[in-house]
Subunit: 233 residues, 4 copies
């Protein structure tokens, strides 16, 4: 049963994705500017704000729209029958529009040219495999929490998953088609060249679908009650 | 129904804001002193203590005074009819007094001149827009948690929001008129020149009011029950 | 009462351990590559992703398999009578296989030779004592949470324990035989020479057994109810 | 009503304080060794493990002994009538013994001389005022959580308070007489010269007593129910 009408749900998706992208792009700009050329420090100062804002926007909006902020998530929810195709399309449009506005807002705040095109090449099979793994893990995280009714755990789990995946996935875990598109509009630390976007998005959707498929089998227990861990009575 | 009398509520606001400002200013001093000129490290070591202390003071005082520690928050609570104008004025006075004492305490602990005037220029439309965004997001965070009765989530959400906003808002997210005033009294890492305070405060109050207005529409559901995310049954 | 059949439990153990090792090895590669020779920054950027992913995989899989991801934990659960010897053997095999696949996945993502043998020497009594302490503390953490039915606290407690132990145990706290074996297959930041593995594993199992023994006595109260702290009424 | 007998409670206090000090001293050694002379990085890598281990040991032992691990806390609990003088003396002895063993364990793990005397001077009124503030804030944190029955919040609140106070208190927030004594036995990053210990301990006990006194007034509401924030209905 839906509690919020579609206009509010789409606004929540746009607003949340906007803050997510503003955090990714903005903290990337700040981090690169201040880090004196040490890229580990720059990436750490890009990671922590990203993980932190995910906790916030999921906590705030999960009861409004489900807090997807990510076409790969909306796609899986459609596969699971929880969104119609039309609502999924609306969600994805709102996410992309909100994400691009987030990039613009970051540029305005940092006094940079509003519209940019990234020249940051990110491609090749290892990067694509990394995006597959990154998005697989993200959906594994979400579906695991949903399966066991750990709704309050989604915000910290997703925030911490992305915090981790920024470092272990080689591509720094975009894991989100709307964010990928929005990041192509910023020629800064977190950008991606527009020509490299389609392969990233394809890898992300494949990873999401693979997770949906595997987890549908893995998490189908016989008589599972939510909070009792097997083997830890 | 209020459980604590006004003297206790004002003391809680002053004490909490004092610890908040002491953490902001004190960790800024320590971070700058130790970071060997790498400003990303300095800002990270200013960010983490600030986010952490917000969790603490909100957890401790939310049941006493609501744990505003911020005139922009008290202003919105007055707009929502939850504080009278007179109580709001008392809250704001307590926050400013407590915040300034926090600056003095930080200077005493670090053996610096007690009273200082910051020379740190922070101005221009990008900075003001950043403060608008920062405070908009802060109120979005708080109002979202309040709307869905996630009272225990306010402390981590606000702590993590500020952790993120320090990096993505260009102005390092003051987002708080009392803290802005208190920081004008410290010519250290986190200071702001007194002449730049009014525009910051104006941008903060505009951002807070905009959030109150938009969220009042966005979070008005039809029959929302707190913890059921739409689309994640 | 078990809710998931053995094939799902073993898959969960393999998948979770795979993500754990991918995070350890992958973030180690990324961190070393970007940190410009500052090993504290590299280790910090190895620590945070490891702690974060532990929160995630425990949250997701604890209700499926108990979320051991660690032969030392499965060993103690067998000692406590919660796993049969045969199931323990299955768990350990799944953890080792999953862990090694995690190493391979990290190498693939970072475009490195898939199969490697670490040359990183880690040995000597101080390192072994460190592994004893590290694993003792890990089991202390888990058994304490289990004892007081703080099931939701296991994920943050284990994540934060390892975050801490990476720094205070000299060996950077492997504390996990499956992860130790998997890390011997990577000649990168987090590797360990294969010849040094057996002594590490022995120290880990001794630490785990010592914790099981001491905690069995320490946590046996007279009439303890889970959440009432003694001395803090 | 106490659930655990005194021998178990004292063991829990000694074991927990031992892990706390091992984390403080051990991570200080590791951080200094790896940080290439950047003291902000060293202190950050000392801070994070300390805050993290506090979450762990409080979560594990709060139901056994109250998880004080700190004579200043036991002193205030005695003032509040929750510990007899004799039990307080036992707690403090266990904390000091456990803390000193933690220092020894750190030295053994890092292959350093087991017994050392710190030469690190830490004194003067600003440092003493910093210890007063640090311990005041620590007790404010604990008493606030206890007052509103937020027992599960004590572990994250104390961990995050110390994370913050390491940076904003100039003395790096020892805030614990047993830890102060134990740190005098290590001539490493986190040490303190034995001659500077008494003034630190005095400042800590004064800060703790001041917090107990002020909070006893501040947190005495008329008809407070734990989770309803005033002003946020």
């Amino acid at each position: 049963m839906q509690s919020f009408d579609l206009s509010r749900r789409l606004t929540a998706e746009a607003l949340g994705t906007g803050f997510l992208v503003a955090a990714v792009v903005g903290s990337g700009i700040m981090a690169e500017k201040l880090s004196g050329g040490n890229d580990a420090i720059a990436l750490l100062c890009n990671t922590i704000p990203t993980g932190a804002v995910l906790f916030v926007i999921i906590t705030v909006f999960i009861s409004v729209s489900g807090a997807h902020f990510n076409p790969a998530v909306s796609f899986v929810m459609m596969l699971r029958g929880e969104l119609t195709l039309a609502v999924m399309a609306g969600y994805i449009a709102a996410q992309i529009v909100g994400g691009c506005l987030g990039t613009l807002a970051a540029h305005l705040m940092f006094d940079l040219p509003t519209i940019q095109i990234s020249l940051h090449a990110r491609n090749g099979p290892p990067q694509w495999f990394a995006e597959f793994v990154a998005t697989f893990g993200l959906l594994m995280t979400i579906l695991g929490c949903v399966r066991f009714n750990k709704i309050d755990a989604i915000a910290p789990a997703v925030g911490l998953y992305i915090t981790s995946a920024y470092w272990f996935t080689a591509s720094t875990s975009f894991a989100n088609p709307a964010v990928t598109i929005a990041r192509s509009l910023s020629d800064t630390f977190s950008g991606i060249a527009p020509g490299d976007v389609p392969a990233f998005v394809a890898a992300q959707l494949l990873g999401a679908a693979a997770a949906a498929y595997l987890l549908a089998w893995l998490l189908r227990g016989r008589d599972a009650s939510a909070q009792e861990p097997a083997g830890n009575p």
